[in-house]
Amino acid sequence: MLTGIATLTVLALAFGLGLGWAGIRLRVRADPVAERIDALLPQTQCGQCDFSGCRPYAEAIAKTEADINQCPPGGAAGIRALADLLGCQAKPLNPDNGEEKPKTLVVIDEQHCIGCTLCIQACPVDAIVGASKLMHTVIESECTGCNLCLPPCPVDCIDVLEIATGISQWRSPRPLALAAAQ
């Protein structure tokens, strides 16, 4: 009886110490959840999720204030990645937020631009340069395709462009599924 109690006590102490030591030594310094969610979002900053940008949306998801299916640019793949990270079920994109479309770019028709700076103020990533009463232009490599600059433009001089698909952009397609398994 006594030996039993003694053994168990010693064992409990030993394991407790071991666990305590492991808890200190092997601590995983995980990123805060919002940071990891933010890393999965496409950073288009388009606001279609009803938040002002990707980061605020990520924080809302982390606080479970927003659902994971509100990001049209991320699309089905993005929702799957979020579901994997958060350990929940993937679901179809919420149609209220928009639909999944290929990424686009905008260009300003420089002939018609009146230099009102409204688009500059609307751009979430400062990808439009120009000054008041002077022509504006879009820095192509920095445009995320959010299209937030379209509504404010008073003269409709901003065009949406498909991203070029020439030989240099061509990617090898995914091979077809196993024929014999069909």
Binding site: D38, L41, P42, Q43, T44, Q45, G53, C54, R55, P124, V125, D126, A127, S141, E142, T144, G166, I167, S168, W170, R171, S172, P173, R174, P175, L178, A179, A180, A181
Partner: protein, 512 residues
């Protein structure tokens, strides 16, 4: 530990030969196209010269427009820092428009279309007059001006490679004559017919690079070539040039595999041969360089093997860049009845084309016409049985079966860790697979996906940074404005009190 500097070891390149992992012994099928001496075919009716003929970088800007008359060797396209594109013959520019490119999808790209006048009138060429005393910079500049690219098939701009080599202070230039893919024999014919040019080009290139020696690697089955090259390299100034025979095993003509065979060293993961003090160039590039320096002649034609069971009389031709493949095939007696596929390059790494109207490019070392019998699979694709033949054959020592699963299931981090980017797409795994899984198709897809992901990650990082910077700036302006307002309010208040007080003091006497 006995540590030896890899660069020291690399200095002995070619002294002994070594092995690389895996590889295949294939029927080489080269003899069928080696019988007849190389000739130029008749001028075609029309030539379409693509403006993108090198790896990486931009499409060259056209320097001519429809209706212009061009001379043979005239510059028709250039951009910095890419190799210049030249007119292959004299004639009239018919159009600058999109034409078929050497691409699996049959995509089009910008070409200068020239109708030859048959006069073959040369532009005034600018050779380097005093080769012995020309500075390396002049020589390397000539590489770009004459449009030289790696003629082994990769078409990397030679001058960029050379500049990198000079910067890294390479000690050995390796000329790759190990043409390891079956059917292709254009380098072998070039080495047989123009060994002097190759040796001369090698010597000038060595000087331009500041290297100490040149090793020309040829395959052991090329008997006549060895004699020809050794004879050409038998001169007082050729002491630095050495011809080395390597055992024929595919893909030893791959840059990294050839280095391993010649030195026993491996190019560091993610590094370049220049990290070992080595630089590899194709023998045809060296010959073209000799012409560029001594005659000023730009790269407007190359040796090309037209071969395969789908060709009536397989042989090698000296073809102008821009010639449609159909014209070259006609010069070889046309197709046989059962031709089924047309490939630019060899059967293992060549690019299939959808039409023989595709024009000749600098990359095309072989036009291979295959019959259904050559390509028919004996069985449909089956699931992987993990037999491991693919990893046994892989010259990059990868585990293709694992990579295949990782790509299939989208495990991109794992695929990167297992070295997907190190795959050289040689096709060995594909050929030995008993389940007939199109492994190389998977790897091409996976590599494209990885590149795309990296680009997207970079773009989204940039967007995130810019968004955060903007948010911070907006916040700052707001705060500043608020502070400003507060300050102003305070000032107004102060002013008011001051004025009030002043009034008071002023008014006091009145009150009093």
């Amino acid at each position: 530990m006995n540590y030896t500097d890899p660069i020291q070891v690399a200095r002995d390149a070619g002294k002994h030969t070594h092995h690389f992992h895996g590889g295949l012994r294939l029927r080489h099928n080269k003899r069928i196209s080696c019988g007849i001496p190389v000739e130029r075919p008749a001028l075609p009716e029309i030539l379409a010269v693509p403006l993108l003929q090198h790896l990486g970088g931009d499409v060259a800007e056209p320097l001519v427009k429809a209706g212009d008359r061009v001379l043979k060797g005239q510059q028709i396209g250039r951009c910095e820092p890419c190799p210049v594109v030249h007119a292959p013959t004299s004639g009239t520019v018919e159009a600058v428009e999109d034409r078929l490119m050497t691409h699996i999808t049959g995509m089009t790209g910008p070409c200068v279309v020239i109708r030859p006048d048959g006069k073959e009138q040369w532009v005034e060429l600018e050779p380097i007059s005093d080769v012995q005393n020309a500075s390396p910079d002049t020589l390397i500049n000539q590489l770009q001006e004459c449009g030289l690219v790696g003629l082994g098939g990769a078409v990397f701009p030679t001058h960029i490679k050379a500049l990198d080599g000079r910067e890294k202070r390479i000690h050995t230039l390796i000329l790759n004559g190990a043409e390891c893919e079956p059917y292709i024999s254009c380098d072998e014919m070039l080495m047989r017919e123009q060994p002097d040019k190759i040796v001369l080009g090698a010597r000038i290139l060595r000087r331009a690079l500041g290297a100490e020696r040149v090793v020309i690697a040829i395959e052991d089955q090329m008997g006549a070539v060895r004699e020809a090259l050794t004879y050409a390299a038998d001169c007082a100034e050729c002491k630095s040039v050495k011809v080395v025979k390597v055992t024929k095993i595919y893909p030893e003509g791959g840059e990294r595999q050839l280095i391993q065979v010649l030195t026993g060293l491996e190019v560091p993961f993610g590094g370049r041969p220049t990290d070992l003090g080595l630089l590899v160039q194709n023998v045809a590039t060296a010959a073209a360089f000799a012409e560029a320096v001594t005659e000023g002649k730009p790269l407007i034609e190359r040796y090309v093997t037209v071969t395969g069971n789908g060709i009536s009389q397989p042989r090698n031709l000296l073809a102008l860049i821009g010639t449609p493949f159909s014209h070259l095939v006609k010069a070889c007696g046309g197709y046989t009845e059962d031709v089924a596929r047309l490939v630019v390059g060899g059967p293992l790494m060549g690019y299939p084309v959808s039409s023989d109207a595709t024009p000749m490019v600098k990359a095309a070392n072989c036009i291979l016409a295959l019959t259904q019998r050559d390509i028919a699979a004996p069985q449909a694709e089956m699931p992987c049985i993990r037999c491991g033949e693919c990893s046994r054959a892989c010259p990059a020592t990868l585990l293709p079966q694992q990579l295949h699963l990782q790509i299939k299931h989208g495990l991109w981090d794992e695929a990167t860790e297992y070295g997907l980017t190190a795959c050289i797409e040689c096709g060995c795994c594909d050929i030995v697979c008993p389940s007939h899984i199109p492994l190389v198709d998977w790897f091409r897809y996976g590599k494209g996906e990885l590149r795309q992901r990296a680009a997207e990650a970079q773009a989204s990082d940039l967007a995130r940074k810019r968004f955060e910077a903007r948010e911070a700036r907006l916040l700052r302006t707001k705060q500043e404005r608020a502070e400003d307002m507060a300050l102003r309010k305070q000032m107004l208040k102060d002013k008011a009190t001051r004025e009030g007080r002043a009034k008071k003091t002023n008014g006091d006497p009145a009150d009093a």
